[in-house]
């Protein structure tokens, strides 16, 4: 099954919509609540990253009986130093974003922690792609 969601940069009021819809879908598919939680947390963090840092983006979700595959592609400034971005607490978020309670530098490490497979590609000035997989039967 394939689902797609469009995300607008800066639209914090709608951040979380995609993860809520995916959550509902997974509940209906009788996926283990613990697995759902990992998917939703990873996806929500990814969604907020796009809203906070990028101009706009897309989320593609593919679900089969083995795994949930999430691809998050954004058009944005990209990440100059991925290794640094993956460090807990490192953040390039603006003070405004931090004031809203986001940008604590936990996003990417948290996504990785909640995924079984995680890959990140980024090009400065172009955008960032996240490939996340969570296995259903583990």
């Amino acid at each position: 099954m394939h689902f797609e969601y469009k995300i607008e940069g800066g639209d914090f009021t709608r951040a979380g919509n995609a993860s809520s819809q995916v959550k509902r879908t997974l509940k209906q598919l009788n996926v283990d609540p613990k697995v759902i939680k990992r998917v939703v947390v990873a996806l929500y963090e990814g969604e907020v990253n796009i809203v906070a840092h990028a101009y706009h983006g897309e989320i593609h979700i593919d679900i089969d009986t083995e795994k949930i595959k999430m691809t998050l592609i954004d058009k944005g400034p990209g990440i100059p130093n991925i290794e640094q971005a993956m460090e807990m607490g490192f953040s390039t978020a603006t003070p405004e974003v931090r004031e809203m309670g986001f940008g604590a530098g936990m996003g990417l490490p948290n996504i990785k922690k909640n995924s079984d497979k995680f890959r990140i590609e980024s090009e400065v000035g172009v955008g960032t792609k996240l490939f996340i997989e969570v296995y259903i039967n583990q």
Partner: protein, 461 residues
């Protein structure tokens, strides 16, 4: 894994129900449908919150209770009353007068549910301090919320606080105390005067416990009427009777009101009332959009138990009266400990924890994931045809609910009045047939001229 037994206190009286769909529209878990002109309950989805009971214009939804005469099956009869019972009455009807009447009605003793709050408070705080418990700890006080989490937010089940509510701890205390007085177990009948349906369901099929100590439940509105009726026969002395000390502590008195628990907890806590507010909050909590909260007090009714579906008094006045009781209690020396509950501290403390609470997700389309996926694909395709205006004419609360009912074999696409029109236009459905379909959903009477469909006098009960 999941128990199939799910007791409900709410029953729909088929002879009174007119299939008006008010209940279907307010149900927070979409547990109601209209079929054959009557409301029908999907038992695995119902959480006994009583929202349907509140809106039913014909009083067709009833909340079961034990027959009052059942109290006489026991030699020693205890009325277990929530503190909000006294808040139901106007100021001149004192807590003592209410107690006198309950004793006259046949009870040997009247005990307030919140008697055990001081013991529980300590336990809650050490439970929260325990780092191994998932945060935020969600109070298990309101049984409708426990069920809501089980059916709609299964991933949050592990956050539910595995401690007994005051009702169960106080019942244990009463039983133990009476047994020590030489009264045997089967002679003791503890009857709980309930402000809500969910408490009844929780007593009849407890979650995380083997069985309840409570022998029966009596609805608060029944007691309200009995008290008012008996009041005229009460002597002045009985009205001012001070036989029962006001033995609740301040926190006990307001425990069942909004912020009653949360205000007693160390750490960051939130109190939320109203089932729709709670659903909205839990959605966010499930996404981990909300963090760093230690404790959540969630109560299904607006103003918590003061707004329970079986209460009669105005909920805001009830809250005010209980706060007045706190104020009036200020100088009492024995406050909270006129009862002997502290003598049983060790006995009770070891019995406060409850067993595991299991999720019972109602949302799955099928147990088998591959089958569920097929059903979901089909329901998504159906959504392209359904109008998406959630008119409820099909007997389901939303188009999405109809689509899900169809893929589960509980409804047909021709139930949608919009699709009927399309099918009639393309000659795929005869108008007579579509009329019969609507009759099947809403009942034959619905199509007859009747100026008294809903008796106006019954509309506001």
């Amino acid at each position: 894994m999941e128990s199939k037994v799910f007791h409900h206190a709410l029953t729909i009286r088929q002879d009174v129900c007119i299939g008006c769909s008010h209940c279907m529209r307010v149900c927070p878990t979409e547990a109601l449908r209209v079929k054959n002109g009557k409301a029908e309950l999907y038992e695995n989805k119902c959480i006994d919150c009583g929202e349907c009971f509140r809106v039913c214009p014909t009083n067709a939804i009833i909340i079961e209770q034990d027959d009052f005469s059942k109290i006489y099956n026991y030699n020693y009869r205890v009325a277990l009353v929530p503190s909000i019972l006294t808040g139901q009455f106007s100021d001149e009807i004192t807590a003592s007068a209410v107690t006198s009447i309950l004793l006259k009605l046949g009870f040997n003793e009247v005990v307030e549910v919140e008697t055990s709050v001081e013991l529980l408070k300590e336990e809650i705080n050490s439970y929260i301090a325990n780092k191994s418990h998932s945060k935020p700890v969600i109070s298990s006080f309101c049984p409708a919320i426990v069920r809501l989490i089980q059916v709609k937010f299964p991933s949050l089940v592990e956050n539910l606080m595995l401690l007994k509510p005051p009702l169960d701890i106080t019942s244990l205390y009463i039983k133990k105390k009476l047994q020590e007085r030489g009264i045997s177990d089967n002679e003791i009948g503890i009857f709980y005067i309930t402000p809500c349906a969910a408490k009844i369901a929780a007593i009849k099929s407890p979650v995380g416990e083997e069985k309840s100590e409570v022998a029966g439940v009596i609805n608060m509105n029944l007691i309200y009427n009995k008290v008012l009726k008996s009041l005229v026969h009460l002597s002045e002395t009985e009205k001012g009777l001070s036989g029962r000390k006001d033995c609740l502590t301040d926190s006990g008195l307001i425990w069942s009101l909004t912020n009653g628990e949360a205000s007693q907890v160390k750490g960051r806590s939130l109190a939320i009332d109203g089932v729709y507010n709670i659903v909205e909050f839990l959605e966010k909590l499930e996404n981990e959009e909300i963090s760093d909260i230690d404790f959540l007090e969630l109560r299904a009714c607006d103003e918590s138990c003061a707004g329970g579906v079986l209460t009669t008094g105005n909920r805001f006045l009830t809250v005010e009266r209980l706060h007045k009781r706190v104020e009036a209690n200020k100088d009492r020396e024995l406050k909270g400990f006129g009862n002997r509950i502290l003598d049983y501290k060790d006995f009770l403390k070891s019995r406060i924890p409850i067993g595991e609470i299991k999720p019972r997700s109602m949302m799955k389309l099928d147990e088998d994931m591959a089958k569920a996926m097929k059903k979901m694909e089909r329901s998504n395709r159906l959504m392209c045809f359904l109008p998406g205006i959630d008119c409820g004419s099909c007997g389901a609360p939303t188009c999405q609910a109809l689509a899900e009912d169809i893929v589960q074999g509980k409804a047909a696409i021709s139930h949608c009045i919009f699709l009927q029109k399309t099918m009639e236009q393309t000659h795929k459905l005869h108008p007579d047939h579509s009329f019969r379909i609507m009759e099947k959903i809403w009942g034959k009477d619905r199509f007859e001229k009747n100026c008294n469909k809903i008796d106006k006098s019954k509309r506001y009960h």
